[in-house]
Symmetry: D2
Subunit: 99 residues, 4 copies
Amino acid sequence: MAIVEVSVVPIGSPCTSLSEYVADALAVLKESGLKFQLTSMGTIVEGDLDKILDIIRRMHETTFAKGIMRVVTTIKIDDRRDKPNTGEGKVQSVLKKLK
Amino acid sequence: MAIVEVSVVPIGSPCTSLSEYVADALAVLKESGLKFQLTSMGTIVEGDLDKILDIIRRMHETTFAKGIMRVVTTIKIDDRRDKPNTGEGKVQSVLKKLK
Amino acid sequence: MAIVEVSVVPIGSPCTSLSEYVADALAVLKESGLKFQLTSMGTIVEGDLDKILDIIRRMHETTFAKGIMRVVTTIKIDDRRDKPNTGEGKVQSVLKKLK
Amino acid sequence: MAIVEVSVVPIGSPCTSLSEYVADALAVLKESGLKFQLTSMGTIVEGDLDKILDIIRRMHETTFAKGIMRVVTTIKIDDRRDKPNTGEGKVQSVLKKLK
C-alpha cells in the first residue's frame, strides 16, 4: 500500500483558474474506486502502487483531452513496507507527538 | 496571499518513521500563527509569502537540531494575484465542478 | 515524447550518502536504452512517456531490493504535444533569450 | 552549502513556450554570482542556503513582472552538513559506483 500525491497542471491554459481541469482528472480517479483526498495543493491517493500509477497516467491525459497542448504532472510516492502505511495513520502519528 | 506546501525529510534517520521530525517542524509553524493543514504528504500553509518562507526556513532547521546531518526540504508555492487565493476556495471550486 | 525528472530517496538508510542507491536505480535506466542525464538533484529522462514510467516503476523497486523499507520517489513529467520537446531544445531556447 | 533546484512556472500564460519567463528569472540568478546549472527541468543552484532562498524569492517575482497573474514555484533543497556537498561531487560519486 502506497500513498501518492499527484498534481496535473496545464501550461498555456486560457485562464488562471485550473479547477475545471482538476475536476476532469478527479472524475477519472473517483470512478477508479481508489481512496483519495483532494487538498488545495494536489490530490492524495492511497492503495496499490501499480493501480495508482495506472490511474494517474489516465488523469494526466484528461487535460490534453480538453485541448491543452502541454501538461506538467508531478507525482510523489511514499511507499513503506515495514508496516501498514495509511494517510490517517501518518497524520495521527504526528498529531500525537505534537500535542 | 499564497498557498504553500512544504515537506521536510531527514536523510539517514535511524528509523523509517518520520513523525517525530514532522512534529518538531510543525511546532514551529503552529507557534507562528499562520493558517495550516497537515496532510499525509506534507503541510499546507496559507498567508503572506515572505512570512511563510521565513517560517519554512526555521522548520528546515529543526531536523538538524535533532542530530540529522542531511535534510531534503520540498516547497511548492501557488501564488495567485488576480483574485483571493484560499485553500478552502480552491477545493470548493473543484468539488462544485466535479458534482 | 516527454521529458521526465525522477528522484528515488531511501528513508531510514544507514548513512547520509545515497549514491549507491542512485547508482542501482540508474543501472536499470541505463540498460533500458532511454536517453537520460544525471544531475546533482535527480535524473532527467527523455522518450515515450509510457516506457519511461515503466522504467521508473522498476527504478523505485531497486531501493527496496537493497533492504530499505521505505522509499520516497518524486516524478515530474513535462509533456508537450504541439511541437518536438527535447531537453537540449528547451535549454537552448532559454540560453538564446538570456544572452 | 546547499544544493537547491528551482522551477518557476507561469499559469495562464498566452503560449505553451515558457523560455522567455525562464530567461528572465535566470537573469536575476546570473547577476547574483551564485553557481548554477540550467537543466531541461529546472535550475540547480549551489551555495549559502539563505542567499539562494533570497534570490529564488526574486526569481519568483520576475514572472509577475511580465504580466502573469499566477505562478507556481517549486523548490527542492538538499542540505548536507556532515561533509562538503557539491553538485559535481554528487554526480561523480554516483558515476563511480555505476561503472
